[in-house]
């Protein structure tokens, strides 16, 4: 298997503090890769560097064979990288369906002029966007609430909406930032099933997660971060028996 995403020597300093230090990571085509680590290990920083919300101090990020570390976030989205953030709010003043439709921005291109002039291209893109949104909302069981205002959804459903928005861009690489946090039992089970389905369809997934059981079930491989550096990479079975990981993170559970 070839790597879809290659992170090499990635370093990010905030002032004198290393949030990330020389991190290397591969996400192979079609694999679900989890990043775990204690609070402050640099998981969120890693995500923001891959998404483009933060710039790296040093290091390279290669996606599908090309460097992307100098691209703006919306250009990375167009290349096929979608992110469901943990802490980003849904888009206010918009319906659930419209929220999902924003995610299709990455795969459409009709500009404002074609909308004002009602060109065929506008209508074609609107059709594509509507279909993609309906499909994505169905996958997260939000299709019946499509016309509700997004901010009226309970928090767990808002998280699902973030995932639907990300799926609307038909990503090749899906970044999920603690998708299970704050979800109740059935929602968590549904999310795990969805991630397994996506993996089955060949989507590559990079997942930051706190919940070790969730990771154990879903991840093909796991990278353990601690204090901004990679402690270990391997299957869940491999890393859970790694002495450094046991000492730093898993502690008594292993």
């Amino acid at each position: 298997m070839t790597a879809l995403l290659e992170v090499r020597g990635l370093t990010r300093r905030f002032g004198g503090i290393h949030a990330l230090r020389d991190v290397g990571l591969d996400v192979r085509e079609g694999e679900t890769h989890a990043v775990i680590g204690p609070n402050g290990a640099g998981k969120s920083t890693l995500f923001k560097l891959i998404g483009g919300q933060l710039a790296a101090t040093a290091g390279t990020i290669t996606y599908a064979g090309r460097r992307i570390d100098h691209l703006a976030p919306h250009r990375r989205a167009r290349r096929g990288i979608a992110i469901a953030f943990q802490d980003a709010p849904v888009f206010h003043g918009m319906t659930v369906a419209e929220n999902a439709m924003v995610g299709a921005h990455a795969v459409t291109s009709a500009g404002p002029l074609s909308a004002v002039l009602r060109l065929p291209r506008h209508r074609r893109d609107e059709q594509v966007i509507r279909t993609a949104a309906a499909h994505a909302l169905r996958r997260v069981a939000l299709h019946e609430l499509a016309d509700q205002s997004a901010e009226s959804l309970p928090l767990g459903r808002q998280r699902a909406l973030q995932v639907a928005r990300a799926l609307c861009g038909r990503p090749r690489l899906l970044l999920l930032d603690e998708p299970a946090s704050g979800l109740r039992g059935p929602e968590r089970t549904a999310l795990a099933a969805l991630i397994e389905d996506l993996r089955g369809e060949g989507m590559s997934i990079l997942l930051v997660e706190h919940d070790v059981a969730f990771v154990a079930r879903l991840a093909d491989r796991v990278t353990v971060l601690d204090l901004g550096a990679v402690l270990a990479t391997g299957t869940y079975q491999q890393i859970r028996s790694d002495p450094a990981v046991i000492a730093a993170y898993l502690g008594g559970h292993a």
């Binding site: 976030p73 953030f85 206010h92 924003v102 404002p112 909308a115 509700q148 901010e151």
Partner: protein, 334 residues
């Protein structure tokens, strides 16, 4: 097509208006055009402009200067919004990096700079401005009566409203609305945040510029004093009163404020009132209105009314949670 009856009603009104009232009608429509743009900018892109009348001035001076140099007025009217939009793009690249009140002050500063440049520019007539501009003529038909301009302005309002609403409901419009509340998530979804901010700034400037172009031919003379900072503030008040991000609200806000200011002006120019009365009264009313609206109708008139209406007519659907702070709605029971 819900708006067609309103347009028809607005088209009937001028027939019954006297000369002075027709002037008010035209000025109201011009404000409405600029406010539709400003409402787009403030409501959908979350950017405050306290210098929006700069673009009205740029449109007006573009049309006026071209007319003075014997360019056909209709061509001048077409170039006016383009010039305003170009100006917005040029200044927008640096200043749209600012947010919130910093952007508001930057736009205010821009207008002050523009007014002082225009006041000193010989090519623009300096403080006296441009005089004796021709009437607009469209393919040989000269628009030389107030009534003609009333219909021209109505056409302009419809044009800006249609452009704004098709923009808002499009792919780009959803991107704009998304970036107003969650720019990080919007950008990660592929929305080119910087380009869209610039786009909506340019569109709002074009609307103001078109209003300015019509104003130049309607009034027939231009001076820096025709576009005071107070005009920019008036636009903001109109947009906020009507409801940000609502096109109908922008037009209603322009109507309410224009009528109110007219009433106050006629009061302030009564015999026995001091000479500074009109200015003081209009500033005071803008301030009081802004405070009252922000406290009691924070969404603005039109969104509040339409929400209430929807709630009453569709009891089966759960009412969306109102993100407006509860203290701002003393009448609402919880």
């Amino acid at each position: 097509m819900r708006w067609i009856p309103f347009v028809l009603a607005a088209a009937v009104v001028p027939v019954f208006l006297g000369p002075g009232q027709l002037t008010v009608y035209v000025l109201l429509g011009l404000s409405a055009m600029a406010v539709v743009g400003l409402s787009l900018l403030m409501g959908y892109a979350g950017q405050v402009s306290l210098g929006q009348a700069s673009f009205t001035a740029i449109g007006a001076y573009t049309a006026g200067l071209l007319a003075v140099h014997d360019v056909p007025p209709l061509l001048g009217l077409v170039v006016a919004p383009v010039a305003a939009a170009l100006a917005a793009v040029v200044v927008g690249v640096p200043i749209l990096r600012l947010r919130g009140h910093q952007l508001a002050f930057a736009t205010l500063a821009l207008q002050l700079i523009l007014l002082s440049v225009l006041g000193d520019a010989d090519w623009a007539g300096g403080a006296i401005g441009l005089q004796g501009l021709p009437y607009l003529s469209v393919f040989g038909f000269e628009l030389n009566e107030d009534l003609h301009y009333a219909y021209l302005v109505l056409l302009g309002v419809v044009l800006t409203a249609v452009v704004a609403s098709s923009l808002v409901r499009s792919r780009a419009g959803r991107g704009l609305r998304a970036l107003a509340t969650a720019p990080v998530a919007a950008e990660a979804s592929g929305v080119p945040v910087g380009a869209y901010r610039l786009l909506v700034f340019a569109v709002s400037a074009a609307f103001a510029g078109l209003a300015g172009g019509i104003y130049a031919f309607f009034v027939g003379y231009l001076a820096p004093g025709s576009f005071p900072v107070l005009l920019s503030i008036e636009y903001v008040v109109m947009a906020v009163v009507g409801g940000l991000g609502s096109i109908a609200g922008a037009i209603l806000g322009a109507t309410l404020i224009t009528l109110l200011v007219q009433a106050l002006t006629s009061l302030a120019t009564q015999p026995g009132m001091p000479g500074y009365a009109p200015g003081v009264l209009s500033y005071a009313v803008y301030a009081v209105l802004l405070i009252v609206i922000v406290l009691f109708v924070p969404r603005g008139v039109v969104p509040t009314l339409s929400r209430r209406f929807r709630r009453e007519t569709s009891p089966g659907r759960p009412a969306p949670v109102d993100p407006a702070p509860a203290r701002a709605r003393p009448g609402a029971g919880r």
